[in-house]
Every structure is written in C-alpha cells, then in structure tokens.
Symmetry: C2
Subunit: 348 residues, 2 copies
C-alpha cells in the first residue's frame, strides 16, 4: 500500500508492506550518482546476512536514542564527507524513530542538504513518517536542535517488526492506539476488538496505515491554521512527565496519558468513556498502569508545567475529548487538574 503526502509541495510517498525494501529502494537509488546508508547497529546485527545483505559498506551507527547527540552525529557526518558524499547523492536511513530523526538531520545539513529516504524499523516509527521533523538532543532537553526537512520517500517494510522486543511493540502500539482514537470511535473499537486478547503485529498493518493517514489529515488541516496539530499530543502531557520520571518507553507512557485524558474528559466535558474497560485492557497487555497509582501528583504537576506547550501561567494545556468524536485543547487550572489526577489515582 502506498500513501502520498498532500502538502503544498515537496510531497513524497510512504510505501507500507511486507518485504518491499530492496525492490522499492531500487526505483529511487537509480536516480542518484551515489547512495550512502546509515543503519542502526541493532537492526544491522539482526538483518545483515538476510534482508540487508544487499547493502555494501553501510555506516553502522549507535542504537536508537544514543545516536541523537552531537558527537556521534558529527562522527557520522565526517564519515560521509570522507566517503565523498555529493549534493546529488542519496542518503538512506534505516532504523527506528530516533535513527530517522538524527539521520534526517544529517541529510538536512550535510552539504546544505542532500536527499534522504527513511526506512522505519519499529512500530513507533510509523509516527515519524509524516511531519518532516528532524532533530537531535541538547544538554537542555530532547529535540531542541534540528530542522524541518522532508524525506524523498518512506519505505516501511513491515518485516522489520517481526524482530521487535515486546516492550517496543507495546510502546509503538501506544501511538497506533492514539491515532485510532483521533480517527474515530469506530476505528478505536475495531482496534480494541482485534487486539482484545493479544497484540499481534500481523494484525496491525491496516491500523498503521490508518494511523499515518490520520496524522497526515491533521497535519494538513493544521497548515490552514486550524491548530489541529496539537491534537497529536493526545496523552502526551502526562506521558512526558511519567516517561521522564519512570524511564518507561514513550508509547507506553502515552497509553497512561490517554487514560488520564479520557478521565479528564469525563470529569470536565461529561463524556462517558468507560475508564474501567480501558484500564483492564491496558493492564491485560502489560502496560504499567499502576504507575498512575504510585505517581506523586505534585512532582508530575511540576514536570508538566515545564512543558513548552503551556502558554498561560497557572494553566496546563491538555488534549481532551469534547465528545467521543472530537478532540480539543483545554487549558486546565493547575489546582483543578491536581484534584482530577488525585481522583484518578484513587480510581486505579
């Protein structure tokens, strides 16, 4: 399945299917004088003798988030320059979201910009197929240095998902679940039904594609200044705090954040999300729901207040639902949010 982006310009295709990497890549690489590969070391270890054996002398880079710092980034950039990368070379970045963020950033600044293709290898990375954000981390926080720079294509070969550790599947599924909720109650219900007993990666491609399309729709709407892009932060306000404090994978924290968002929606907007069902479902799949019971509310509030998305003092911006179909941004008074989270804590 191919999805085409719908920006005003610089559009690209997102190819999503099993076992497509080498073939799809060939249709692009033949247009370039030379091709360079950046590959996450964990991914390369697993696939170097099989799926990735067609690649000669790749630059194998330190795994995941550890690549998103100046020092490893510059090392790889100098290697590319030493190898003779040119303006009309293509850079292919194979790895999860972090590898894509840093590899895309390299593409954006080496020789003032070369073309690149991202090959996501995780479930979470479907989220970065849209958006064109590249970045690395600063001493002062994540993703503070970067560029807006779109790839020439995203080739999402689902075969890579077979080797994902369970914790990674749970994390990536958090974003799949979020996108389903932002799409429609029907899609969320379908997703919950299909994954009622277990989360089987083979069942997810249709939802991954829907997720990418949902994000695309929201990002495009946002270009017309609707502000809808903020909806993509569903679950993220509390998630960032939980993730920072308890060091759990991003998408798992998002799941906990979504529970909070639904609970707040019920309290403040009178929606009737069945919180009990959501909690049971997440517990069943192994999400660390009990952190919501353990958390120190004051500490969480402190962390949330640091979030760059807050623009009013004494308020925290939270993505909630107006009704089951409609997300909205709500500025919630800090004292009020504290009370609601305390009640949720009791409820777990």
């Amino acid at each position: 399945m191919d999805i085409s982006t719908a920006y005003k310009d610089n559009n690209y295709k997102i190819h999503v299917a099993r076992n497509i990497l080498e073939n799809r890549l060939n249709t692009y690489t033949e247009q370039y004088e030379s091709v360079y590969y950046i590959i996450d070391e964990n991914v390369y270890d697993i696939y170097k003798d099989t799926k990735l054996s067609f690649i000669k002398s790749p630059l194998v880079v330190t795994e995941g988030e550890s690549f998103k710092y100046v020092s490893p980034l510059m090392h790889t950039m100098e290697e590319l320059l030493a190898a003779g990368i040119k303006r009309n070379s293509l850079l292919v970045v194979i790895g999860g979201g972090a590898t894509g963020d840093a590899g895309g950033f390299i593409a954006s600044i080496v020789l003032r910009g070369v073309d690149y293709i991202h090959v996501p290898t995780t479930l979470l990375a479907h989220d970065s197929a849209i958006g064109g954000k590249t970045a690395i981390n600063s001493e002062h926080g994540k993703n503070l240095i970067g560029a807006f720079y779109r790839p020439k294509a995203v080739i999402y070969d689902l075969e890579f998902l077979d080797s994902l550790p369970r914790a990674e599947v749970l994390s990536g599924f958090g974003e799949v679940y979020k996108h389903a909720m932002l799409n429609s109650p029907e899609l969320s219900e379908e997703l919950v039904n299909i994954t009622a007993d277990s989360i089987d990666v083979d069942e997810l491609p249709a939802f991954i594609i829907k997720g990418i399309e949902t994000k695309m729709k929201i990002v495009i709407e946002d270009e017309h200044e609707s502000g809808s892009r903020k909806f993509l932060n569903l679950g993220h306000t509390l998630a960032h705090a939980v993730e920072y404090k308890y060091k759990i994978p991003h998408g798992q924290a998002v799941m906990l954040g979504i529970i909070a968002a639904l609970y707040i929606s019920n309290e403040l907007n009178g929606t009737d999300f069945n919180i009990g069902n959501h909690i049971d479902y997440m517990r069943r799949h192994g999400y660390p729901v009990n952190l919501l019971k353990e958390m120190d509310i004051d500490e969480m509030m402190q962390l949330m207040m640091k979030d760059k998305k807050n623009h009013r003092n004494d308020y925290i911006s939270y993505i909630v639902f107006k009704d089951q179909n409609t997300p909205e941004v709500m500025d919630i008074k800090i004292e009020n949010l504290k009370k609601i989270l305390a009640a949720l804590k009791e409820r777990i």
Copy 2:
C-alpha cells in the same frame, strides 16, 4: 539606503547606511518576546562602550573563521538554550561573514529555526547579505555543513568599517571590485577612478550598494535556471588555490584571480582588457601581485582540479569574459590553462 530582496518569498530588507544599528534594530526587536545577541569578540572589544553599549549580556564568540567549527558553535547553541531562547525569539548576529555564516546556521537549527538578523561588520561581509547560505567547516573542507536559511533583515551599519585593519579593507574591496566588473565596464571604470590613489572606505557605500544589487540580480536570474550564479565565482577558481597555498585573505586572492580571468579572456576570447593597468593598480594598493610570478603552476593546477565546481575530467571551469560586458563559464583544457598561466607568470 534600503534594498529589498526579490525572491519568490521570504524576502527581507538590507539597510545600508552609517550609524543606523540601534534605531533600525529597534523596529525589529519590538516584534519579539526576547532577543539574543551573538557578537564577534574583536568587534565587541572595539565597540562595547560605544556603539554596542545598548546590548545587555551578549554571547561574545571567538573571532571570525575560528567560530565556524562544531565545538564553539555547539557551545554557543547550548548557551542560548540555557538562557531560555524560544521559537519566537530573535537572534542578532554581529560580525563579519564568518560570524554571519555560523550565527545564521545556529539560527537555522536551534529549536528547528528561529528568526535572525545579520549585522555585517566588514567590507567583505557585504557579499553575504544576499544568498541565504549559512555554514560551518568540516574536517574535510570549508562550508561543508550548513543550511539555506534567510535572515529577517541585514543591517549594514557602515560605521563598523572605520575600524577595519588595512588587510581586511583590501580583502573586502576584492569582492566590491568583482561585483563592479560583473555589473558593467562603466561601473568598474568609475570604481577604479575613484580609488586611483587610495582605497578610502568612505568613498565605497555607493559601490557596496551596487555590489549587493548586482549579486541580487544574478541570484534571482539563477533561480530561473540561467546558471548565472556561477558568474559570482569570477576570480575564485585560482583564488581558492592561491588562498589555500599562501594563506592570504580571501578577497585579496580574488583580485589575483581576476587578473588571471582577464588575461585568459584576452587569450581565448580576444577581449582587450589592459592587463598592465590592472596589475599596476593592484600593486599600487598593496595586493600581493607577485604571488602570480612565484606560484608553482603544477601545484596550482592540482589545487584547482580538486574544486567541486569541475564536472568534466581534464577540464577546469573558469569564469571569463566573452566581451567586456559579458561573463561566461568556460571549461578550459588543463594543458591549455597551464600554458596560459605560465605565460601570465612571465608577464608579471
């Protein structure tokens, strides 16, 4: 005098006059929540108690080209983040072309891009008022890492030129001279007449403005794929080699390169540039014309062949004149160029 750029979008103004910095800057800064200043240490030392005394706690950075490396760049970037720079902050970069290149690059990547204004403090930096190229140096060469990123304005306060060392004036004047030649024989003649006895910075503003306009015209034409941008490399092919070998300032090397370009034009295109007059004029002002006599032709050829602008083997791309009015790109056979440069060497 204000010049407006004429790009398709993201246009900005270039303000050129004496003693305008603080006033002009105020009209911009009031639109931003916060303003941060990056200032070349040499410039700050000279003007901190006078012209720049209105600036509170600037980031003073290592002088000129030495700032264009990853380590000082990242140090300044982290300082900006520590100081709390936001998306809607303005970055003001005060210094020569190198400070502008690196400061503009910081603006392009910190928080994925903030607005910036360049305040050039050298004669050479008039050349970077147009073009939107930002960059730093790699271990493998100059300007290999960077971004295309336009400023919100350029404020060229000519008072800064008063404190320039003579070598800097000669260097910057090289680009002024080049732009006059690319503009018209009339403008070049006028420039030569006005500077017949000495190069007085106070006489140059009209030519600086003409130079910026000439570059603008060429860059805009180039956007329509005329390829005219290459003309801006007039004098640069030999200059890069001379500069690398003899470590003389960029614009001084360009002057020597222009002599070679005119000599080649006479030899291959039958133009009648008066080489003797050009040599006398440059000698009189202290340009190191004798390097053209000392140079090892084979070594210069080697260095020129490395230039990224050559796209045919056994040929070197050189900007020459078809007639006194018309620059052109000529691919010259290596053996042929060697002979001509050897003859020029005898001629000096």
